[in-house]
């Protein structure tokens, strides 16, 4: 297969490509998922910014 005769190298060659495909498929399937926490996140961003200001004041 692909001009390679060692099964372990063929496996690695194929798995590299399959792993990348897995990433692409996973990313596309979940493309819009995970954004529902946005309101919480926004509140947190604001807390984080406050802390940032505190750190700034300390400095």
């Amino acid at each position: 297969m692909f001009g390679i005769h060692d099964i372990w190298i063929i496996l690695a060659y194929v798995l590299c490509i399959l792993s990348a495909i897995l990433c692409v498929v996973y990313g596309i399937v979940n493309w819009n998922k995970g954004a529902d926490l946005e309101p919480n996140e926004l509140a947190e961003e604001s807390d984080w910014s406050k802390n940032e200001s505190e750190i700034e004041d300390k400095l």
Binding site: F2, G3, I4, H5, D6, W8, I9, A12, Y13, L15, C16, I17, S19, A20, I21, L22, C23, V24, Y26, G27, I28, N30, W31, N32, K33, G34, A35, L37, E38, N40, E41, E44, E45, D47, W48, N51, E52, S53, I55, E56, K58, L59
Partner: protein, 537 residues
């Protein structure tokens, strides 16, 4: 030559401009450290990829593939599965959330705040500051090797020039600049590597034909003669795995594939990246470009590194490592000798971009480790965080340049860049990975269990590196100085252990000790604190 110089000047102008933008927007300590948290997923993925991949991967590990063959593709498999899929999907989401909950700005700070321990933060900061320069030196060496070969100037001048450019850029920009510049550099890298794989397969008559030629090359009598030393160590050709249990098999499987493949999960600069995105959606989206990016970087480098033997042999009658004059010179020499000069310029920029992005993240990690984690938090000192961080970066640059200078004096047939990289990745995995996983997934684990696990992994890792694993111990010289041999187990009944990479022993030891600690010690962290850590998880 003129084309190369003009292209480099344009490139430097763009990265300096992006660095300047970062500098202009760097207003506060927190801003400098994590570059804000509003980062586009494409920028994040390209930046993550560019941080992950460097001259170490392309020149160092690509060169290792030139010597050891396509078995390195197992590292690509692990890089994608662990470094992208598991890192983003499994660890990334919790890391981002916990980082936000705890207002963490660095990897040591995430662990320290999670376990409410200044010791953990300080200890992790010290490990990063002391040992990351070895990895940084490996990346610097990859860049300097390429500049040396491309322009025909001395290694020392190449190294100084390269380090100076990176230093100015990091000094000006901080993380914000780094993030955008990394993405720009990631794009250059992608285009460069895509051209390279098409060019090489095309030159050798297609995918199967290229691999067939590489397989047949090994059977030629003159090649058997040239690789006699490697064959003795277990080498069986570039399209075969080394003989099981042979020294080369141990080196390939435990040091290169496992050390780097697993070690990436506990890499400080990469963990920080997760805290810089807005939501899990951005992480999901980043998996797409991340997986493809890593395949195009490491997969291409390892295939091309292996196939370079066919082209070198056809041209010079020698295998790559002999024709190039050293393992780490294979890829630079291959580019100089075989690809059209216009492409050589693009590839040169891709490599310099790869090195710059990784180096700037490394210098940043070391600077924050000493400035924020050790000085501010662990020692409880008050002071100008930005000043201390930048001083830490300057010290880290100096130390790394000295190590990169010394690394060039080692035996050039060794995979110096790959070994240096694997050393740091393995040590990070042994010291931090069990604690990091526990931080994210085991709510009730005690701080003591994590501390003892970290110390165990670190101590065993260091002892193994300096005194047992011959490949590293012989280069570091301490074992020779104290015991007059390259490994303390050499010429004993346990001599085989000298082939085993530290990660194989130190990581399980650290995990077991952490587990036993979890069973035997009681969690003393308050419910309030734990609720804060795991809010939204």
């Amino acid at each position: 030559m003129l084309g190369s110089i003009i292209a480099i000047i344009v490139y430097l102008f763009v990265v300096t401009f992006l660095g300047y933008l970062g500098f202009k927007h760097t207003k506060t300590s927190a801003d400098y450290l994590v570059g804000g948290r509003q980062i586009h997923p494409m920028i994040m993925a390209l930046s993550y990829g560019a941080t992950f991949i460097s001259t170490s991967a392309i020149v160092g590990f690509g060169g290792a593939a030139g010597t050891l063959g396509m078995g390195l593709l197992w590292l690509t498999v692990l890089n994608i599965l662990f470094g992208i899929f598991i890192a983003f999907v499994v660890f990334g989401k919790r890391t981002r959330r916990m980082g936000h909950n705890l207002d963490a700005h660095t990897f040591p700070e995430l662990l320290g705040n999670r376990f409410n321990s200044k010791f953990i933060q300080g200890f992790a900061g010290v490990v990063i500051f002391l040992f990351m320069p070895i990895y940084t030196a490996a990346v610097l060496k990859g860049g300097a090797d390429f500049i040396q070969t491309h322009f025909g100037i001395s290694y020392e001048v190449s190294l100084l020039f390269f380090a100076a450019v990176v230093a100015v850029y990091v000094w000006m920009g901080g993380m914000k600049g780094v993030m955008y510049t990394d993405a720009f550099q990631g794009a250059i890298m992608f285009i460069g590597m895509a051209f390279l794989i098409i060019f090489v397969y095309n030159k050798l008559g297609g995918v199967s034909s290229a691999h067939e030629q590489l397989a047949e090359l090994y059977n030629k009598p003159e090649i058997q003669e040239q690789t006699a030393g490697l064959i003795k160590g277990g080498f069986r050709g570039w399209t075969s795995m080394p003989a099981s249990g042979s020294p080369i098999w141990w080196s390939l499987v435990t040091t290169i594939v496992m050390g780097v493949g697993i070690g990436v999960l506990a890499q400080p600069p990469l963990v920080v990246r997760f805290m810089t995105v807005k939501s899990n959606r951005e992480l999901n989206r980043a998996v797409v470009s991340g997986g493809v990016f890593i395949l195009m970087m490491t997969g291409v480098a390892f295939v091309v590194g292996s196939l370079s033997n066919v082209l070198f042999f056809n041209e010079t009658g020698k295998v790559a490592i002999l024709a190039a004059g050293g393992n780490d010179k294979i890829i630079p020499m291959f580019i100089k000798q075989f690809v059209p000069s216009w492409f050589g310029v693009i590839f040169f920029l891709a490599l310099i971009a790869a090195a710059m992005s990784t180096l700037s993240s490394q210098f940043h990690s070391m600077g924050t480790a000493v400035g924020r984690d050790v000085y501010e938090k662990a020692l409880g000192k008050k002071g100008n965080s930005i000043f201390i961080t930048r001083t830490g970066i300057l010290l880290a640059i100096l130390l790394s340049v000295i190590l990169a200078y010394l690394a060039n004096k080692l035996d050039s047939s060794m995979q110096i860049i790959a070994t240096g990289t694997a050393l740091f990745f393995g040590l990070c995995a042994a010291s931090f990975l069990p604690g990091y996983i526990a931080a994210l997934y085991v709510k009730k684990i005690s701080t003591k269990a994590v501390i003892i696990g970290m110390i165990t992994g670190f101590v065993i890792g260091v002892i193994w590196i300096f005194f047992i694993h011959e490949k590293e111990a012989s280069s570091l010289q301490l074992c020779i100085a104290l015991f007059n041999k390259t490994s303390i187990v050499k010429d004993t009944a346990m001599a085989k252990l000298a082939l085993v990479d530290p990660i194989v022993v130190a990581l399980p030891a650290s995990a077991i000790v952490t587990f036993i600690g979890a069973l035997t010690t009681k969690n003393t962290l308050s419910e309030n604190h734990l609720d804060k850590c795991f809010k939204g998880i």
